[in-house]
């Protein structure tokens, strides 16, 4: 099938392009990009005037919950939610049941994704067997089976010796290690950020230092081992500053931030609503400011959702007992665009954090819109306002911290390898 996307504003950070261009898709590939492309006779023409045309987004941090917790989400629904949010590539974390710590689980995920997925699924394998932080998982075998990185996400590798070995060993494989930076000894029993709000609510706190100590430790290890290290969901000023200094020294460290962490403060938890309970927790205003500065100066390379769906009844409990995590795939792009409206990021820079930024960290050829590239494309209507209604999500998870918020800009069409995987207005289908 040929599709000609005509008259849209093309935003491609990889080629630093912001201007009116047509895009011709032939099968799974972008056949041509340029001004005023004549539609071939057999092409479906999509009128994209007034719309933004961007590379399919890349979310390097999601939880698809399959295998094992399909009642929360599965590969089919998680990738549908991705498509609805403009994402064509997602990296799924290893904390499934069983844990993705063997090539067999990796292969299962990839096979399911190929069969049922609406987006490209790149599994992240575990660093340690069973995420227990005791012995290394077979990172090399999993990489051969198709993992893109290794992480014990959800937990920190608390044994510093094991983390050292993981970084060293992964270096030999040229495999990215993703750190969930948290010193669990400091966060034990904690459910929200430790500060005036936790004190007022009588909830056990998680101090910012739990993250900052872990970031400092990983960076110190990276100095020793070299290799490639990426920080998941950075949330504090101290963490941003430490990563900035490390980058200035030339260490191969990268970082991501989630839309909820750069948008909401810990005051949002004041009504004990478990939809605002996640790990790391929402932080005070000054941390948000630092996260925005980190995005603007390039310390933070990517925006990732940490999409963590839970069943409604799991969140409909006392705050303390509710599981950590919020969904994010279907709101991330519009929430990111708020940064452009606020003047934090230039438009192309904002798109970069969701496309070529993560592509570069992962070392994949995706997130670009040029001739010969794979036809992962998202059309975005920048003027359309909508109110976030979790019940309307395609994800099984309705646990959104953005519920009820009015967002500007909505996905109009998502093409994954040339196929319309999200096309609410029937532009192509």
């Amino acid at each position: 099938m040929k599709v000609l996307i005509k008259g849209g504003r093309l935003l491609d950070p990889a080629s630093n392009t912001d201007g009116e261009r047509d895009v011709l898709v032939d099968g799974a590939t972008i056949a041509a990009v340029g001004p005023n492309i004549e539609p071939p006779g057999d092409a479906k023409v999509v009128d994209a005037s007034g719309l933004w045309v961007m590379p399919g987004l890349i979310d390097m941090h999601v939880h698809l919950r399959e295998p094992g917790q399909e009642y929360k989400e599965n590969i089919a629904t998680g990738t549908l939610a991705a498509a609805a949010g403009g994402f064509t590539t997602v990296c799924c974390m290893a904390n499934t049941d069983p844990v993705n710590d063997t090539p067999a689980v990796t292969e299962f995920i990839l096979k399911k994704a190929l069969k049922e997925g609406s987006a490209r699924v790149l599994p992240v394998g575990a660093v340690s067997k069973g995420l227990e932080g005791k012995e290394l998982a077979e990172m090399g075998e999993m990489q051969a089976a198709g993992t893109i990185a290794a992480s014990d996400d959800g937990r920190s590798v608390m044994d510093v010796r094991l983390m050292r070995r993981a970084l060293e060993y992964a270096r030999g494989l040229d495999l990215l290690i993703i750190s969930h930076p948290e010193d669990h000894n400091l966060t034990r029993h904690g459910v929200i950020h430790e500060g005036e709000v936790s004190t007022r609510l009588g909830l056990d706190g998680m101090p910012a230092q739990a993250e900052e100590i872990a970031v400092a430790r990983e960076l110190s290890l990276l100095e020793l081992t070299r290799g490639r290290l990426h920080f998941a969901h950075v949330s504090t000023r101290g963490a941003v500053q430490a990563i900035k200094r490390a980058k200035d020294r030339g260490l191969a460290a990268t970082a991501e931030v989630t839309p909820h962490h750069f948008t909401l403060t810990h005051e949002a938890t004041a009504a004990y609503d478990p939809d605002f309970k996640m790990n790391p927790p929402l932080r005070p205003e000054e941390d948000i400011k630092a996260l925005k500065e980190g995005l603007a100066d390039g310390t933070i390379d990517a925006i990732a959702t940490d999409h963590a769906p839970h069943a409604p009844w799991e969140k409909e409990v006392e705050f303390v007992y509710a599981p950590f995590g919020v969904v994010g795939l279907e709101t991330a792009l519009a929430v990111t665009m708020r940064l452009v409206d606020e003047g934090v990021l230039e438009l192309l820079d904002a798109v970069k954090k969701l496309t070529s930024g993560p592509a570069k960290i992962l070392g994949i050829d995706a997130g670009r819109l040029s001739e010969g590239a794979v036809a992962d494309i998202v059309l975005f209507d920048p003027g359309k306002s909508w109110v976030v209604d979790p019940e309307a999500f395609l994800s099984k998870g309705k646990n959104s911290a953005f519920k009820g918020m009015t967002l500007k800009g909505a996905v109009a069409l998502t093409l994954f390898e040339g196929n319309p995987v999200f096309d609410p207005e029937g532009l192509v289908s």
Partner: protein
């Protein structure tokens, strides 16, 4: 004045007028407990369900007695005797209780915010009888009533709260309540037990307990929870009692005739020296007696008794 609230979730939601009104109403109910026949028909035909997911002696008996003295019917649920042991969630339990049309639910729960969770989802009124380390509003009200009775006023007094402020719902509610009524509240204890930003609730912090006690009108000691010993909040109970326990020598720093209070249950010889706990300035049992009156007032007001 009219009392329009349906729930009592915390002192946080009460202003000075609300607190004064509750205390006046409570004072007027005290007389009922002194009669030979300790019962008035005020709430006949109304029903109160007590959901207690934590052990409690004083609060539970006090609420039950308060309800019965007003002729309301009471029903009690505890964790051990309810379907919680079969895995039923709080919401399901509460919705089932609600289906039986009670007028009010009184809940004690180890998780902060549990009463708020129910209040948002149920049609009946909810009283917070203690939620985790968050609030224990009826305790603060009975403490204020006790102080007012003994010292004639609350405004301008210096109230010192000693102990584990971090994990104390009694401390939070009393800080909010006494400061709203014009008193000065100073908290003291090991620095490991003073949470960040407690000043924002209105308390002053003095880590030196002797200095904190200077000129105090009221000394309130909090229970040291022995089950928290493994969290290294202080080295030993012995050291705690020496450095932070209220004994006769330390009490001399407070004003002559200062009241000694404790929300119970007491660890004698830890946070309170027996000579203090059972001494002439202790009003601990008055607190308990006032608990019934305050809870009668709360049940009465929340079930519409305050409406003209």
């Amino acid at each position: 004045m009219e009392f329009k609230k349906r729930h009592l979730l915390g002192i946080e939601d009460l202003d000075r007028d609300n607190i004064s009104f509750i205390l006046e109403t409570a004072a007027s109910f005290k007389e009922v407990s002194q009669r030979l026949i300790k019962k008035v028909p005020t709430l006949r035909g109304r029903s109160v369900v007590l959901i207690f997911y934590e052990p409690s002696t004083r609060t539970r008996v006090s609420f039950e007695m308060a309800a019965k003295r007003l002729s309301a019917d009471t029903f009690s649920l505890s964790k051990a005797t309810s379907s919680v042991t079969k895995g039923e969630t709080l919401l399901d339990t509460a919705k089932n209780v609600e289906a039986m049309a009670p007028d009010l639910i009184v809940i004690r729960h180890p998780a902060a915010g549990a009463p708020h969770f129910l209040a948002q989802r149920l049609s009946c009124g909810v009283i917070n009888a203690g939620d985790g380390a968050h609030e224990h509003p009826s305790q603060a009200l009975l403490d204020m009533l006790t102080v007012k009775e003994h010292l004639g006023r609350i405004e301008g007094l210096k109230i010192v709260i000693l102990g584990d402020i971090s994990h104390s719902r009694v401390a939070r509610s009393n800080i909010l309540g006494f400061t709203r009524m014009g008193a000065r509240v100073v908290v003291s204890g090991p620095a490991t037990m003073i949470p960040p930003g407690i000043e924002n609730l209105g308390a002053q912090v003095d880590l030196n307990p002797d200095r904190a006690l200077e000129g105090a009108d009221v000394v309130m000691a909090l229970r040291i929870q022995k089950e928290r010993q493994d969290e290294s909040l202080f080295p030993t109970l012995r050291e705690y009692s020496i450095h932070y326990g209220v004994n006769l020598a330390r009490l001399k720093r407070a004003k002559e005739g200062a009241l000694v209070m404790h929300p119970g249950p007491i660890n004698r010889g830890v946070e309170l020296d027996p000579a203090v706990a059972d001494g002439p300035y202790s009003v601990i049992l008055d607190q308990v007696a006032n608990g019934v009156a305050v809870r009668m007032a709360l049940l009465f007001l929340l079930m519409g008794g305050g409406k003209a």
